[in-house]
Amino acid sequence: MLGNALIGLREGLEAALVVSILVAFLVRTDRRSELPKVWLGVGIAIAVSVGVTLALALAQQQLTFEAQEAFGGILSIIAVGFVTWMIFWMRRVARSISAELRGKLEGALAMGPVAVVVMAGLAVGREGLETALFFFTAAQAAGETTQPLIGFLIGIAIAIALAYLIYRGAISLNLGRFFTITGVLLIFVAAGILAYGMHDLQEAGIVPGLTTLAFDVSTAVPPDSWYGTLLKGIFNFSPQTTVAEAIVWVAYVAVVLPLFLRPQRTRAAIPTT
C-alpha cells in the first residue's frame, strides 16, 4: 500500500509541479483565459500515453528497452528547453509589469497558444508512458488485491494536493517575489529533469558512464522513503547520481541561475493589493 502510494506520489509530482506553477503564473498575471490550453495540453499528454500503451498492447508489441529510455530521455531534454524558455519569459513579463506597462503586456508578450499546450503536455507526457503502464498493471492486480491500485491513486491524489498547495502558496506571494521564487524553483526543477534525461540516455547506452557515480547517498536518502520520494518527485534528485548527471545539473544551474538573478533594469517590486 505505502510503496504503491509513493510511486503514485513521485510520478504525480513530476507531472503536476510544472503545471501548477504554469497555472499560478497565468492566474497571477490575469490570464485565466489561457487556462483551458493548459488542460488541453495535459489532456493530450494523458490521451497519447494511454493510447500508445493500448496500441502497443493490442499490436502485441513492446517498445524495446533502448527505445523507451531514449524516448523518455529526449522528451525530458526537450521539456528542459521549454521550461527554461518559460523561466525567462516570466522574467520579461515581470519587468514589464514592474514598469507598469500592464496594458501593453497582452500584445507584446502574449505567450503563443501552442507553447502553453506543448509545455503542459511535455510536463505530463514525460512520465506518462511509464505511469499508464503502471496503472494498467495495478488495475490488473485488482482482481486479487485492490491495495496497489488504491495506494497508487492515493499517491496521485496527494501529489495533486501538494501541487495545489504550491499553487496556493505561489499566488499568495507579492508579484516580485512570486517571479523570483517560482523562477528559482523552476530552474532547479529543470536542472533535475535534464539530469534525469541524461540518466535515461545512459541507461539506453547512448551516453556512456552509467556506473561512474559522482556520489551515492542512497543509505542516507533511501529512494523508497517519503523524503526520497519528494526529492525525486520535485527535483528529480537521484541518491545515486552519475558523473554525467552531476555535470549537466551543475552546468545548467551555473549558467541559468546567474542569468535569471542578474539585476533587472527596473526593479520588480510592486506591493500586492
Partner: protein, 379 residues
C-alpha cells in the same frame, strides 16, 4: 470507481497484458521464447524461475511479494543494461520483455528499495538469434571502445601540438625540435582515423614531394620540420604553425562524430604496419629530423589499440589468433626497446642496414596475423 467501470478497466488491462506477454518470436529463431519466466521478488530474495533461456525474445514476469518497491534488471557483459522494469510496487506483477540476440552469460537482479546492485544471480542465454553484423553487440562494443581510445589520443594531441606550435611561433627552435616527435606520437597512433577524412591527412602530414593541386601549399608537421632542421624558420612559419593547429582542431571536431566499422578498425591496424614498412623503416617520413623511430613506435601502438578493441570478437571467432598477435606485438616492442635512448629513440641516421633489416622482419612477422583480423571479425 463504480463496479462496471472497474470491470471495464480490468478487462482492458487483462487483454492488454495478455497481449504483451505473447510477443511474436523473431524470425530465424524457431525455438522462440517459452512461457514467461516467473520471478518472485521479495524484500530479501529474488527467485528467478529459470536460469537459462534461448536467445531471442525473453519475457520475465516479475511479482513483488515484498513490502518495498522493487526493480528488475537483466545485465549483459560489463554491466550493460539489456532491459529493466522499474516501479514494481508491493503486490504487483510487471513484465520485462527483452531482446537478447547473443548467447552467453548474463545477470539478473532484483533491487528491493530501488538501491544498490540488488540481489544478483547468473543467467545463461543459449544459442544465438540471427542478427546482422552491425547489430552484433560485441562488434558495437569494439567500435565504441576504439572510438574512446582515439578520443583519448586526440585529447593529448591537441595540447601537445599547441605547445609545439607555440614554440615555433616564439622562435624557440630547440624546444620545438624536442616537442616535434612527441606531438607526432599521438598523431601517428590514430592516423587511419585521420586518413578516413581524405582531405585532412595531406594537409597535416604531407611531404614536400607529394603531388598537390596547383596553388596548394606544402603545409603541416613536415613543412615545419624542414624549417626547424634544414632551412631555419621561414617568415611564414608562424602562419604555417597556425594552419597546422587549425587542421588538428578540425580533426578533433570531426573525430567526435565519426562512425567506424569493425572492418575499418581491422584494416586500420594493418595500414599502420604498412606505414611502418614504407615510411619509417626507410627513413622516408621524417627525412629532416630523422625521428622515424618515434613514429614507428606510435604506429605499432595504434595498431595494437585497434586490435585490442576487437580482441573479444577475435577470441570468440578464432581462439588461435589472439596469442599469435600478442607474441608478435611483444617481439616488435622488445626490438624497439633496444633502440631506446632516454625518453626517445636513436635517430634514423644512426641505424645500420642490419638494424633496419631486423625491424622489417619483425614488422612483416606482425603484419601477417594482423592482416587476418579483418576476415576473422567479419566471418
Amino acid at each position: 470507481m463504480s463496479r462496471t467501470s472497474r470491470v471495464a478497466v480490468l478487462v482492458t488491462a487483462s487483454a492488454a497484458l495478455a497481449a504483451c506477454t505473447s510477443t511474436a518470436p523473431p524470425a530465424g529463431d524457431a525455438a522462440g521464447a517459452g512461457g514467461p519466466i516467473a520471478v518472485t521478488a521479495a524484500d530479501d530474495r529474488c527467485e528467478v524461475g529459470a536460469t537459462e533461456a534461448p536467445a531471442g525474445t525473453i519475457t520475465f514476469s516479475v511479482r513483488n511479494t515484498g513490502s518495498k518497491i522493487t526493480e528488475f534488471y537483466l545485465y549483459g557483459t560489463g554491466g550493460r543494461i539489456m532491459g529493466e522494469v522499474e516501479n514494481i510496487g508491493p503486490g504487483l506483477t510487471r513484465n520485462l520483455i527483452v531482446e537478447v540476440p547473443d548467447g552467453g552469460s548474463y545477470t539478473t537482479a532484483c533491487k528491493p528499495g530501488m538501491v544498490g546492485d540488488g540481489i544478483q544471480a547468473p543467467f545463461t542465454v543459449t544459442g544465438s538469434a540471427t542478427r546482422s553484423v552491425d547489430e552484433n553487440t560485441r562488434l558495437a562494443e569494439a567500435t565504441t571502445g576504439y572510438h574512446r581510445w582515439v578520443t583519448s589520443q586526440i585529447e593529448a594531441l591537441v595540447p601537445k601540438t599547441q605547445e609545439f606550435v607555440d614554440a615555433v611561433k616564439a622562435g624557440d627552435v630547440d624546444t620545438a625540435k624536442a616537442l616535434f616527435p612527441v606531438a607526432r606520437t599521438y598523431w601517428e597512433r590514430i592516423e587511419p582515423v585521420a586518413e578516413s577524412f581524405g582531405d585532412i591527412d595531406p594537409k597535416i602530414d604531407g611531404r614536400e614531394d607529394d603531388e598537390r593541386d596547383p596553388g596548394v601549399q606544402f603545409t603541416g608537421y613536415h613543412r615545419l620540420e624542414k624549417d626547424l632542421w634544414v632551412d631555419g624558420l621561414q617568415p611564414d612559419a608562424p602562419a604555417m604553425a597556425d594552419q597546422l593547429m587549425a587542421d588538428i582542431r578540425d580533426l578533433e571536431s570531426r573525430t567526435a562524430t565519426v562512425e567506424l566499422t569493425p572492418v575499418q578498425l581491422a584494416n586500420g591496424a594493418k595500414e599502420l604496419l604498412d606505414e611502418v614498412a614504407t615510411g619509417k623503416i626507410t627513413g622516408e617520413e621524417d627525412r629532416y629530423s630523422h625521428t622515424d623511430l618515434w613514429d614507428f613506435k606510435a604506429n605499432v601502438e595504434g595498431s595494437q589499440g585497434a586490435v585490442a578493441a576487437l580482441r573479444p570478437v577475435i577470441d570468440e571467432k578464432d581462439p588461435t589468433l589472439g596469442p599469435v598477435l600478442d607474441e608478435r606485438f611483444a617481439a616488435v616492442d622488445a626490438l624497439l626497446e633496444e633502440y631506446r635512448v632516454g625518453d626517445g629513440y636513436r635517430l634514423y641516421t644512426d641505424l645500420t642496414e642490419d638494424d633496419t633489416r631486423r625491424m622489417a622482419e619483425a614488422v612483416d612477422a606482425l603484419g601477417e596475423p594482423v592482416s587476418q583480423v579483418a576476415a576473422v571479425v567479419t566471418s
